[in-house]
Symmetry: C2
Subunit: 108 residues, 2 copies
Amino acid sequence: MKTKEVKTYSLSEMKDKYIGKDGTTVRDEYEYELSMDVLGKMIKSARQERKLTQEELGRLVGVQKAQISKLESSANSATIDTILKVFKALKADINFNVKLEDNFIKLA
Amino acid sequence: MKTKEVKTYSLSEMKDKYIGKDGTTVRDEYEYELSMDVLGKMIKSARQERKLTQEELGRLVGVQKAQISKLESSANSATIDTILKVFKALKADINFNVKLEDNFIKLA
DNA sequence: ATGAAAGTTTCTAAATATAGAAACTATATT
DNA sequence: AATATAGTTTCTATATTTAGAAACTTTCAT
């Protein structure tokens, strides 16, 4: 997998952007640009919110803790299937959207 | 890849849910549950909005038209890398979020 | 400082995705 | 109906991901 150095934000940094509103955080409504990097961090963050160790999450997913570690550190580019399996085990919903940019020019 | 039969909506069906607001559609703000199925349909829909054939998109991504066809029909579970490559070629931003469900019970 | 628990890395094997090429099918257009 | 264009499927090869197991390292509590 080819990787590129990009400015990253820690999850907590990103989550700090949330606006507290009578108890419920809007945090989970915050949108992230899709990347394996952020996805891995989201898995870790969700696992921690569930108070699970990598081994426990592994058991829920049906894999070794080593797999969870690899996913969280985005050691490689996971398949959609794998991502879904993990979030399902965490009882988390993952939603997305696509937005076309304005600057597209179709060349002949 | 294991698949499951689920009730699906066509992209246009889904997009019909948008609320028109002075010219600009809110359509692109609509959120979809992550699945290879929907992802494939989004690629197709975005490609069509760009007025590209599968062959042309293939050229932009750097693959044969057959690959684009496979992705759009979700013949398999793509990797995040592949998904990103395609949306990048389409000059489209893909964002996501994760929401923890309430009904999680950690068993001992 | 020691020990236990949690997380990471490395090795190997197996499964799956990616890819091109070519044949095939479907869709339009005239 | 014939042709061109667009999209799909099949075949084969290669690359990559997934996975377990075990060794290793880090972190944390005492």
